[in-house]
Amino acid sequence: MPEVTTVKVSYPVRIMKRVKILVAFAFGCLTALALGFGVDVISRSEASAGADQRAFLESRLNALEERARNLEEITAQGQIRNKVVAPFEITDENKRRVFYVEPDSASVWFGRKRGVAMSGSKEGGFFYAYSASGNQTARLAAPGVGVSENFLERIILGKDEKYGNYALSFLSSTRQLIGGIGESGDTHAAVVLVCDKSGNLRGRMAVTTDGHGIVDVLSANNLPIAQLTNSESGGGKLWIGNADGKGMLVAGDAGGYGIVRAGPDGFQFIPTPGLALSGSVIVGKR
């Protein structure tokens, strides 16, 4: 019989065999894990995206429900929020406009027309009141007030932007001045003017450029025909002219005594001591 040869396996070789088995087990685990993990990662990624979207939808839905709840509460109270975006409109029960706010104005309506309006622009603020026919308008603005008819101003009280003076003016339907009072655009002193219906100045109470008062009556060709003003001595003077504006009578203070002269030749006054004066001049005595 052949002799059995017993080969003794050394300790390091046994260890090596067990390590191989463990490595094979671990490799099996890793392979399964790798394949399964890949699927799991994909599914987890999809699940994560789904969760995010749900959270987003949830928050939006919550917000919408909150808004609807507020609106329902406000409706139940019959109130609206205290801030709205223009245009804003209030109507009557027949859907006719009563009040309307546009970007540059707010107005109260009657029928299909504005009754009154307030407006604003970079130039300033304005109030308007309209007649039922719509052809008459009253206006209040920072420079003053105005009344218009058929789109022409008939009364203006306030500042004349051209000259910077303030006055009350009445205008004809052809935009001619009929009457006025206020500050003169020329002298910036006061003036009262009365004109005929064609706009010709016929009466005036004013202050001259040298600071004296004057009241005069003017002819149709704008020439003074009667005038009250200062004499050269500082007293008063009456002057009456003819149609051409030539002086016919002057009466006034001559410096401590009165004098009346009828013209035109009566103005050639030559004192004659001891004799009576001619009939065209009378002179007072001191």
């Binding site: 088995i21 094979a24 087990f25 392979t31 399964a32 399964g36 599914s43 699940a47 789904g50 839905l61 429900e65 609807a68 329902e72 409706t75 609206i80 801030k83 223009a86 706010v101 546009e102 970007p103 707010a106 307030m118 407006s119 604003g120 300033g124 603020g125 304005f126 209040l140 603005a141 920072a142 003053g144 007030v145 009280l157 500042k159 303030y166 500050e183 910036h188 002193a189 006061a190 003036v191 009262v192 109470m205 004013a206 600071g211 004296h212 004057i214 009241v215 200062n230 500082g234 007293g235 008063g236 009466a251 203070d253 001559a254 009165g258 004098i259 009576a276 009378i282 007072g284 005595k285």
Partner: protein
């Protein structure tokens, strides 16, 4: 035999992990079922929300949605800038470019007033039961309404703090008056009625210093008086009607004192018809 142990180990490792993944998937399936339930809840909520909004829209179309606003109330443009504002203080304001331009107010103890502002906030006009005021650079320029004693209505034009022109009811006589002054406020002319009810047109060198006066005389006649620089008593020239009913033009101050020649040089007197 040698390799079968390795295969068995490999397979055992594989199966262990596969079993674990399977268990995890069972749990994941449970989550999906829960998600499906959540989805159904979403749809229910959206359906409910649609119904609520539809109801509100229906109410809005009927005009029943809103009828009342609690101040403050504001209308803005799409940029969010204020256009219209109702304050709790009972002011209704119209704004433009970020500035207040027009105001309707009932806030001053219930007194209504309109205010219109220019681009310069120092210049504005106001209309109230007291009257109309136009203000420029913080100073009144026009005042239409009652005087400070709240008695008489008049229109006054100011320059600085001085009255330069006015028309209305006199605070002195209660009669009508129109007056003009120079730029410093010195009165130069007026047209009025006196306390006695006589009409007057006069030129002045300042308030209380007439230099010419056209009025009604004692005989209810027309009367012209021209004064000197020192006043009107006596006048330098008078023209009117005397007690006999004839016209007289007299020059002063010593009207009827005849000269040494007896000539009547200082007056003219008419004759009766």
């Amino acid at each position: 035999m040698k390799h079968s142990k390795l295969f068995l180990s490999f397979a055992f490792g594989w199966m262990t992990v596969a079993a674990l993944i399977l268990a995890a998937q069972v749990f994941a399936r449970k989550g999906e079922v829960e998600n499906a339930a959540s989805q159904a809840t979403f749809e229910n909520r959206i359906r409910a929300l649609r119904q609520r909004v539809a109801y509100l829209e229906e109410q809005a179309n009927k005009g029943d949605l809103t009828r009342k606003v609690v101040a403050p109330f504001e209308v803005v443009n799409r940029a969010g800038q204020r256009i219209f504002y109702v304050s709790p203080d009972r002011d209704v304001e119209l704004w433009s470019g970020g500035s207040k331009r027009s105001v309707m107010s009932a806030g001053s103890g219930g007194v209504g007033a309109l205010f219109s502002y220019s681009a310069d906030p120092q210049s504005w006009a106001s209309l109230s039961p007291r009257g109309l005021f136009v203000n420029e650079n913080g100073k009144y320029r026009v005042d239409l309404g009652k005087d400070l004693q709240k008695k008489n209505y008049r229109l006054v034009f100011y320059k600085g703090d001085k009255v330069i022109a006015a028309i209305g009811q006199s605070s002195v006589s209660g009669a009508g008056i129109a007056l003009v002054s120079d730029g410093s406020g010195s009165q130069k002319a007026d047209m009025t009625a006196t306390i006695n009810g006589t009409g007057v047109v006069e030129l002045l060198r300042g308030y209380g210093f007439p230099i010419v006066r056209v009025t009604e005389g004692d005989q209810k006649e027309g009367l012209l008086l021209i004064c000197g620089v020192n006043g009107c008593n006596p006048p330098m020239v008078s023209a009117g009607t005397n007690e006999s009913g004839v016209g007289v033009v007299a020059t002063g101050p010593q009207f009827f004192i005849q000269g040494p020649t007896g000539a009547s040089g200082s007056f003219l007197i008419g004759k009766k018809q």
